[in-house]
């Protein structure tokens, strides 16, 4: 079980997708139920996995490493530490919720939709469990396709533009990552004498400083686009606004985390020197993102794009905390990944719910919903508050740790970053103000039905999580801590590693066996 549980979690949704293929197209209900059941069982499996995870141990757990493409040293290598554990849990929960939330909103191409959702889940889980860089890359790209369809087929009026923009942006970054990955692969080969894409092996590879810089840039670009770090964020509002509700939930909840996860898992430990070198740049970009996202969110007219820009701001926090490179900052960053997934996911669900009722998302079309939909408004309020980081909600713990850590690293960053907290209150409350408070000016808002049982059940788990993490984050933090310390250790210890890079330094020479001479690196 130890060895197979990760495989099971990862591929169970895909199995569901395959089974769905066999269900006739017209049987919407069985398609939906089957998809829900599969995602739910995946969630249960992930719970089981959670229980198997040893919180005290550092390093990777539940590992499995089976050769896949031996000729390339590619292995089917899965394993998790605290960070991946959390993101997996997030993914499985959000997937269930996303699938259930689309119950009534998806009416065309039902089967394709749920197949896409399940495949997407596998893709996302794969990114978080992969410990083989090649595998990581494969999953990273694989998940693009179902998301592309989810946006493109079931999206809003400008879905095509948004879908293509989404794919192109992500592709752009990841292709450069591929080159860097290959480069590193051969560096490892000439250093260790064997081919390996195993991340844990590659962690050992000493890389000269200037090469680190390039490699870091290549990887970071891929991740930065995904995160998205300002100024690579412009795909995000379009994708979010156009995607169907569940798509937005997953997109914001999980997909963006893949970028930040990439930074933690790959950029930091692999390129410690470069990381240190780029801390100021990334921090400043994150800060710009925090402020920028908040300001732009403030003036949005569409609730969904407001939430989208708020994501830019929140992810800025995540990156800021990560760049603090200390326990608090990094832990806060990881926690905030989770938090953002929960809160923003819930926000998108909520926006989706009113959209289903009113077929508009324009803030100006609403007002006074608290009167006609009190339950809805309560949920909305709780989630919004968690999003702006009110104490005892999840957002607070994360943001606090991030800022605390950042302060240690650089007080100025923390001060500027903290102002984002104020701005968050501005845009969120202003939006709440105009949507749920005030007089009902549009008679249509009077008749809207409050949440149905299903919708409540969809939201309740998220609200529970919001408070749980806000009040008792210890179980989570203690699982993250060993992983975070590990990463910090790797960054710290492997910094200025002059001693052993000698043979593979800047004057790198690739021995071309066929031609028997040094072709060098052409740059």
């Amino acid at each position: 079980m130890e060895k197979t549980i990760l495989t099971l979690v990862t591929f169970f949704p895909a199995l569901g997708a395959i089974l769905l293929l066999l269900v006739p197209r017209s049987q919407h209900n069985s398609v939906k139920s089957l998809a829900l059941i599969f995602s739910f069982i995946t969630f249960l499996i992930s719970l089981f996995m959670y229980s198997m995870f040893d919180p005290a141990a550092s390093g990777m757990q539940l590992e499995i490493n089976v050769p896949w493409v031996t000729g390339f040293g590619i292995g089917f290598h899965l394993g998790i530490d605290g960070i991946s554990l959390l993101l997996i849990m997030l993914t499985t929960i959000l997937s269930v919720i996303a699938i259930w939330s689309s119950w009534n909103s998806i009416t065309t191409g039902v089967k394709g939709y749920y197949i896409s959702m399940l495949l997407l889940e596998t893709g996302m889980l794969g990114v978080f469990v992969a410990l083989d860089l090649f595998l990581f890359y494969v999953f990273w790209e694989v998940m693009l396709i179902p998301m592309y369809f989810i946006i493109g087929v079931w999206g809003g009026p400008r879905k095509i533009y948004a879908a293509i923009k989404f794919v192109l942006f992500t592709m752009f970054g990841s292709l450069l990552m591929l080159v860097a990955l290959l480069y590193m692969f051969f560096m490892y080969q000439s250093w260790a004498g064997v081919y390996s894409f195993n991340l844990l092996d590659l962690y050992q590879l000493p890389i000269a400083r200037e090469i680190q810089t390039w490699l870091f840039l290549a990887f970071a670009l891929a991740f930065a686009i995904k995160v998205p770090i300002w100024p690579f964020h412009t795909w995000l509002p379009d994708a979010h606004v156009q995607a169907p509700t569940a798509g937005s939930v997953i997109l914001a909840g999980v997909l963006l985390k893949m970028g930040t996860y990439g930074f933690v898992r790959i950029c930091l430990p692999l390129f410690p020197d470069a990381t240190i070198q780029f801390v100021p740049l990334i921090s400043v970009l994150s800060l710009i993102g925090i402020i920028y996202g908040a300001l732009v969110a403030m003036v949005q007219r569409d609730v969904k794009s407001l939430v989208a820009f708020s994501s830019v701001s929140h992810l800025g926090f995540v990156m800021l905390g990560m760049m603090a490179l200390n326990v608090q900052g990094l832990e806060g960053s990881v926690l905030q990944m989770l938090n953002h997934g929960i809160s923003t996911g819930a926000l998108f669900l909520i926006v989706g719910m009113i959209y289903e009722r009113r077929h508009t998302r324009m803030i100006a079309d609403f007002g006074g919903l608290a009167k006609s939909m009190p339950v809805f408004s309560t949920f909305f309020m709780i989630v919004a508050l968690s999003s702006i980081g009110l104490p005892l909600t999840n957002g607070f713990v994360g943001e606090f740790l991030i800022l605390l850590g950042t302060y240690k690293a650089n007080a100025t960053y923390a001060i500027i970053g903290a102002s984002g907290v104020v701005l968050a209150a501005c845009y969120m409350l202003w939006m709440m103000q105009r949507v749920i408070f005030g007089k009902i000016t549009n008679p249509e808002n009077e008749k809207v039905k409050d949440l149905s049982l299903r919708e409540k059940l969809v939201l309740i788990p998220l609200v529970v999580l919001i408070f749980w993490i806000g009040i008792y984050p210890k179980p989570i933090l203690e699982r993250v801590e060993p992983a975070v310390k590990n990463i910090i250790k790797m960054v710290e210890e492997r910094r200025p590693s002059q001693s052993h890079t000698a043979e593979f330094g800047s004057g790198v020479c690739f021995q071309d066996e066929a031609k028997g001479h040094c072709t060098g690196i052409r740059e």
Partner: protein
């Protein structure tokens, strides 16, 4: 001369002989048999038998006819590739040919002959034989391009292909002449052995000869700037034939190129630069030109140019790895590109089809599986994992990085980035665009279903489990290298 190669071993030619024999049999039988289905089946059987006979020789490199024939693993790999491409093409052709009213038994014979020509090309290390193989391959192709005799588009494709092909042949022959002049032989093994002498004794002659030969094959694989015929011919030729064009002759061209430049002229350093530039140009022009095409066939034509560019990246990298990476890529490329053409063929088999991209609109709603498969091929062409397209590119690029061609690789990945845009367009059309008029029904025939299944399976399998084919491709090398 080699001890072994002096003898005449007919047995190493069995695959070709068999395929040619079946081709001739078709020519004879075809006149009397009404059933074209039978002829097609016969052709497929012939090819399958050829395939089996080829596999017989795996891991048993032999040489014969005074070294003119060299059946090594590489050759077998290509045999399998050509034969598979031939089988798939035949399988997907019928409904199309029938719809257009051009189904004639010679069609199948021509494919068999052409396949035999390619096999000849792939299994020789003598320039003259390679040249003859090229001709045996090309002549049927000229005819196949113009096979729809009443269709002016097909006519035009035929004549253009023919004129340009013959023109390129002129240069090739001149190149062979120069090499002959410089070395007194056309045997690549001797050329390789004496290369350093040649390079110092008559460098310009040798290099120019090599370059002219390169051009001759660059034409076949559609490398820029010798690609101009490609869009017109691909668009005009009957769709299954186009599919065949985009795969088999291209692979044959690369087979020859690899024989000549990874083997005979392997030590020719300055060629690297030429290949480098050619690879960049080919990828870039192919991709950029494909961006604005509105005809799927034409778009796929440019796409095939771009893919030739990626393979040239591998060729630029050189070395053993390059050989196996190119083999792998070609195998993968055969599956998804033929698959894509199979879908286009299916659509083109409807009356009044012009293969315009707008015709795809609404496909997903009506034929979800067809659309899904089509999307799969497009994603594979764009190089998304976990399709074969991804691993193929991965392999090629890895060889380039290994060879130290980092910038070339970056340009290559940027190119495949650009390509994503146009590969997504048919997908957008199939899935996202609202259909203005109903997607008119397509006629599934067993043959084309089989092709779709095989190619889709191949695309996925080579993506998920690249290891197997990878191992096979690594077993391929030139035994006397």
């Amino acid at each position: 001369m080699d001890i072994k190669s002096g003898a005449i071993f007919f047995d190493i030619l069995y695959p070709q002989i068999f395929i040619l024999g079946v081709g001739m049999l078709i020519l004879i039988v075809g006149n009397y048999m009404k059933s074209r289905g039978f002829i097609a089946t016969l052709a497929v059987i012939g090819l399958v038998a050829g395939l089996l006979l080829s596999l017989e020789q795996w891991e048993n490199p032999q040489s014969g006819f005074f070294g003119m024939v060299q059946v090594d693993n590489t050759a077998i790999f290509f045999y399998v590739l050509f034969i598979t491409a031939g089988i798939l093409t035949i399988l997907m052709s019928r409904s199309y040919l029938v719809t257009l009213g051009i189904e004639r038994f010679e069609y199948y014979a021509l494919i068999l002959f052409s396949t035999a020509g390619m096999m000849t090309m792939a299994s020789s290390s003598d320039l003259v034989v390679i040249f003859l193989g090229l001709e045996i391959m090309s002549v049927p192709l000229y005819v196949l391009a113009g096979f729809a005799r009443h269709d002016i588009q097909s006519n035009e494709a035929g004549i253009k292909y023919f004129i340009m092909g013959a023109f390129a042949t002129g240069f090739l022959v001149y190149g062979i002449a120069l090499i002959y002049g410089a070395s007194g032989t056309t045997d690549l093994r001797r050329i390789m052995a004496d290369f350093s002498f040649l390079a110092s004794h008559a460098p310009v002659l040798t290099y120019s000869g090599a370059v002219l030969i390169l051009i001759g094959f660059a034409f076949k694989v559609a490398a820029v700037p010798f690609h101009m015929w490609v869009p017109d011919v691909y668009q005009g030729a009957p769709t299954p034939v186009t599919g065949y064009f985009s795969v088999a002759p291209k692979a044959a061209g690369f087979a020859a190129l690899m024989r000549i430049f990874l083997y005979g002229f392997a030590d020719m350093e300055s060629l690297t630069l030429i290949l480098y530039v050619m690879a960049i140009l080919t990828m870039t022009v192919g991709n950029i030109m494909a961006l604005l095409q509105s005809n799927i066939k034409r778009m796929l034509a440019y796409s095939s140019i771009a893919h030739a560019g990626y393979i040239l990246v591998g060729l630029t990298a050189g070395g053993e790895g390059a050989l196996s990476s190119i083999l792998y890529y070609l195998a993968a490329y055969m599956f998804f590109n033929l698959g894509a053409f199979a879908v286009v063929t299916l659509m083109d088999s409807r009356a009044g089809s012009t293969a315009d991209i707008g015709e795809i609109n609404g496909m997903a709603a009506k034929y979800p599986y067809l659309a899904a498969v089509f999307a799969l091929f497009m994603f594979a062409l764009a190089g998304f994992p976990p399709t074969a397209g991804f691993f193929g590119k991965f392999y090629i690029f890895s060889e380039a990085v290994k060879g130290g061609f980092v910038w070339l690789t970056i340009i290559a990945v940027m190119n495949s980035f650009v390509s994503v845009y146009y590969y997504l367009r048919p997908v957008v059309a199939a899935y996202f665009d609202p259909a203005e008029k109903e997607f008119s029904p397509v006629a599934y025939r067993p043959g084309i279903i089989a092709v779709l299944l095989i190619t889709a399976l191949g695309t996925v399998a080579l993506g998920f489990f690249p290891g197997y084919v990878l191992e096979i491709s690594r077993m391929c090398m030139f035994p006397f290298m």
